[in-house]
C-alpha cells in the first residue's frame, strides 16, 4: 500500500514567532496522502489545518518555520526548500491551492478568460489561440454557462460561486497533481456550496488528481471525502476512512464534533455542546490538548501526550481511551446508529435520494 503514497509527512512541527513569543501551530503531525483520493482535514479555527497544508507549498507566513520533521513529495524533500525559486514547478503547478475567498487568486483588472489562458500558455506552452479555446473548454467544464461570451468579462461581473468555479478552472489549467481546497465553500451560500462540492467530485473523477479538502464543518465532507483527519490544537487526533470517522469514531473530540452537528438535534431538546474554548497555543500543552473540555478525560490525559493508537489498518486515534489499561467507554448515545437516525429524521428523499 505504500506504493501509492505521493505525499508523506513525518513528525512535522511548525512554530510562529509572534512578538517575541512562540506559537506552536503544528505539533508533531504525521500524514500520508494516497494517489487519487480526497483527503479531508477537519478542524476548528486555530486547529492548524491551513498552516499544515501551507508547508506543502512553501506558503508559510514569514514568521513561521518548520522546526522539525520531514515532508516527502514523490521522493522530493519539501521541508528543506527555502527560496521561492526552489518552489517553482511545485507550487501552483504540481500542488495547487484554492482559497476561501476567490478574489485572493483572481486579478480584478484582467478578464476571466485571459487569466485562465495565461496559465495554460505558461505551464503547457500552447499558442494564444489554442490557449483561448482550451480556456473556454475549461470554463465549460467548471459549469460556466455560455462560456464563450463570458470569456471577456471581469471578475466583478461574476457572482461569488462563479468566481470560485473560475479559480478551480485556473488551478486545473496546469494539471495539478495535488489540489488543496482550503475552505472553498465556507463563504458561499449553501446551494452554491452543494454545487461546488459536486463539481470537485466530478472533476476529480475525470482529471484524477489528489485532493486535500480543508473545512471546519464535518457535515460538508461526508459526501466527498475518502479519508478524514480531524485536527485539534495543531495535532491530528484521529484519522480514518470517511465511514470509520462517521460510524466508528474513537476520539472524544470527534464524538463531540459529530454530536454538535445541528442536523442531529431534535426540536425541543437541547443541542450537544462542547464546553469551553480551545487552549492557547502559546502555552506548553501537557497531556491531551482536548482534556480540559473532555467529559471522558482521565487523570493520564493531564499528564502525558497520548500516542496514536491503531484501531485498524486505516484508522488511528490519539486518545488514552484506547489504551488497554483504560476502561471501555462507549461513544455517546446521540451518535450511535447515526445512519438510522438520519434516515428517520430526513426528508432528503426530496433531494432525489437514489438507492443503488
Amino acid at each position: 500500500m505504500a506504493d501509492d503514497v505521493i505525499l508523506k509527512v513525518d513528525d512535522v512541527s511548525v512554530n510562529f514567532k509572534v512578538r517575541g513569543k512562540i506559537l506552536k501551530a503544528i505539533h508533531h503531525v504525521s500524514m500520508e496522502l494516497h494517489e487519487g483520493e480526497i483527503f479531508a482535514l477537519v478542524g476548528e479555527s486555530g486547529s492548524g489545518k491551513s498552516v499544515f497544508t501551507k508547508t506543502f507549498t512553501g506558503m508559510l507566513e514569514g514568521n513561521g518555520d518548520i522546526v522539525g520533521g520531514t515532508i516527502e513529495y514523490r521522493g522530493k524533500h519539501l521541508e528543506i526548500l527555502k527560496k521561492d525559486r526552489d518552489w517553482e514547478g511545485i507550487r501552483g503547478k504540481q500542488i495547487a491551492t484554492i482559497f476561501q475567498d476567490p478574489m485572493t487568486s483572481l486579478d480584478p483588472i484582467k478578464t476571466i478568460g485571459s487569466q485562465i489562458a495565461e496559465v495554460i500558455i505558461k505551464h503547457q506552452g500552447k499558442s494564444k489561440k489554442e490557449a483561448k479555446s482550451m480556456a473556454i473548454d475549461l470554463m465549460d467544464k467548471v459549469g460556466i454557462p455560455n462560456a464563450k461570451n463570458r470569456y471577456d468579462e471581469y471578475p466583478f461581473e461574476y457572482s461569488g460561486g462563479m468566481r470560485q468555479r473560475i479559480v478551480i478552472a485556473v488551478a486545473l489549467a496546469c494539471h495539478p497533481d495535488i489540489l488543496i481546497c482550503d475552505e472553498p465553500t465556507t463563504a458561499l451560500d449553501v446551494t452554491i456550496q452543494a454545487q461546488i462540492l459536486e463539481l470537485i467530485r466530478e472533476l476529480q473523477a475525470e482529471y484524477k488528481f489528489t485532493t486535500i479538502f480543508i473545512t471546519h464543518d464535518l457535515g460538508v465532507v461526508a459526501s466527498i471525502a475518502d479519508r478524514i483527519a480531524v485536527m485539534y490544537s495543531g495535532r491530528i487526533i484521529e484519522v480514518g476512512t470517511c465511514d470509520e470517522i462517521f460510524y466508528d469514531p474513537k476520539h472524544p473530540y470527534t464524538w463531540s464534533l459529530l454530536s454538535s452537528l445541528p442536523q442531529l438535534a431534535t426540536r425541543g431538546g437541547s443541542l450537544y455542546s462542547i464546553p469551553g474554548t480551545p487552549p492557547s497555543l502559546y502555552k506548553d500543552i501537557v497531556g491531551d490538548a482536548f482534556a480540559p473540555r473532555d467529559p471522558w478525560a482521565m487523570a493520564v490525559d493531564f499528564k502525558a501526550d497520548p500516542p496514536m493508537f491503531k484501531v485498524s489498518d486505516t484508522h488511528y486515534a490519539k486518545t488514552w481511551l484506547l489504551d488497554p489499561r483504560a476502561s471501555k467507554v462507549e461513544k455517546p448515545e446521540l451518535i450511535q446508529n447515526l445512519h438510522e437516525k438520519l434516515l428517520a429524521n430526513t426528508t432528503y428523499g426530496k433531494g432525489e435520494h437514489v438507492d443503488d
Binding site: R19, P275, G276, T277, P279, S280, Y282, K283, P292, R293, D294, P295, W296, A297, M298, A299, V300, D301, F302, K303, A304, D305, P307, W320, D323, R325, A326, S327, V329
Partner: protein, 310 residues
C-alpha cells in the same frame, strides 16, 4: 516518548471542570499600559525621546538663569565679546552685540515650542470636537461643508499673513492668526473618520441599546481615533513651529522684543558666510526640535493603535 511514568490508577475518569477551559491565561489587558509597553519597546524612540526631553528642559529652564534679553546691547562696545566662535566660554559663540548664542537659542526655542504646543492644542481640541459633531449630524454637515470649501480654497499662509498684519505683532496675536482657520482641516479629517466609524456594527449595536449620540461619540468613536489624532497632532506641531519661523523671517508675527528661533535665523542670515555658526546652530536646534517632536509623536501614534499590542 517524553511521557512521565504512567500508573494504572491514572486511567480513571476525572470530573470535568467546566470553568477551567473558559479561563483566559493571558495577563489582564490595560490599554494605556500596553501603549506604554509598545512605545518603550523601540530603542530609536527612546533615544529620540531623550533628545526631546533634553531640548525641552533646556528651553524652559536655561532661560530662567541666563537672563537673556533680545534688546540687551550692553556688550556691543566690548570687542572681546563680539563675534566669538564657539569655545569653552561661549559654547555656541557670540554675535555682533556680544550676546551668547547659547542663551539666545534656548530663549528662542522656548518661545517657538510654546507657540507650537499651544497652537496644536487649540487646533486639535476645536478640530476634534467640531469634527465629531460634523460627522454625526447631517444638518451640521451641510453648513460645515460650505464653510470648509470656502476656507480650504484660500491658502492658509495667506490667511495667516493677512491676519498677522491686521492684528499686529504679538505672541497671542500670532497664535490666534495661526489657529483661527487651522482647526477646520483637522475637523474635516475627523468628520471623515467619524463617518467611517459611524455605521460600523458596534455603533449600530449601541444604537439598538438606546445610547445617545453624545455618548457614542465619546465612548465609541473618539477612543478609536486616538491613534489618528496623535498622528495628526504630531504633524501639526512641527508645522506651527515652521510657520512661526517663516513669519518671523518675513518680519511679521512676534513683536520685536520677543526672541524666537525664527527671529534668530532671520537676524543671523546675513552672516551665513562670514560667521556661519550664527545661522546654522539655530537651524540645527530647530531641526532637532521638530524632528524629535515628530518622531516621538508618530511612534506614540503607532503605539496607541491596539493592533500593534501583544
Amino acid at each position: 516518548m517524553e511521557n512521565p511514568e504512567i500508573k494504572d490508577s491514572d486511567f480513571k475518569l476525572v470530573k470535568l471542570d467546566e470553568e477551567a477551559s473558559e479561563k483566559i491565561d493571558t495577563p489582564k489587558y490595560s490599554y494605556w499600559r500596553s501603549v506604554g509597553r509598545q512605545f518603550f519597546s523601540n530603542k530609536v524612540t527612546i533615544i529620540v525621546l531623550v533628545v526631546m526631553v533634553v531640548v525641552l528642559l533646556m528651553s524652559f529652564i536655561q532661560p530662567m538663569f541666563s537672563g537673556y534679553s533680545l534688546t540687551d546691547v550692553t556688550g556691543v562696545n566690548d570687542l572681546t565679546r563680539r563675534f566669538n566662535w564657539p569655545s569653552a566660554q561661549y559654547w555656541f559663540g557670540t554675535d555682533k552685540d556680544g550676546k551668547s548664542l547659547f542663551d539666545a537659542i534656548w530663549a528662542g526655542a522656548r518661545t517657538s515650542i510654546s507657540i507650537g504646543v499651544i497652537s496644536t492644542l487649540i487646533t486639535m481640541v476645536i478640530g476634534v470636537l467640531v469634527g465629531a459633531v460634523w460627522g454625526v449630524s447631517k444638518r451640521v454637515d451641510r453648513i460645515m461643508l460650505e464653510v470648509y470649501n470656502v476656507i480650504s480654497n484660500v491658502p492658509s499662509l495667506l490667511i495667516i499673513i493677512v491676519l498677522s498684519y491686521t492684528f499686529g505683532s504679538g505672541f497671542w496675536n500670532l497664535i490666534f492668526a495661526m489657529t483661527v482657520t487651522s482647526w477646520i482641516g483637522v475637523a474635516y479629517f475627523i468628520r471623515v473618520q467619524v463617518m467611517i466609524m459611524r455605521d460600523r456594527e458596534y455603533n449600530i449595536a449601541s444604537r439598538t441599546l438606546g445610547t445617545p449620540t453624545v455618548r457614542m461619540i465619546f465612548r465609541n468613536i473618539l477612543p478609536y481615533l486616538t491613534s489618528v489624532v496623535v498622528t495628526n497632532a504630531s504633524t501639526q506641531l512641527p508645522g506651527f513651529i515652521s510657520y512661526e519661523v517663516f513669519l518671523s523671517f518675513l518680519g511679521v508675527g512676534l513683536s520685536q522684543n520677543v526672541p524666537s528661533l525664527g527671529r534668530l535665523i532671520s537676524q543671523y542670515a546675513p552672516y551665513i558666510t562670514s560667521y556661519p555658526y550664527l545661522f546654522w546652530l539655530p537651524v540645527l536646534v530647530l531641526a532637532l526640535i521638530t524632528i524629535s517632536l515628530y518622531v516621538v509623536g508618530q511612534n506614540l501614534a503607532d503605539a496607541s493603535d491596539p493592533r500593534t499590542h501583544r
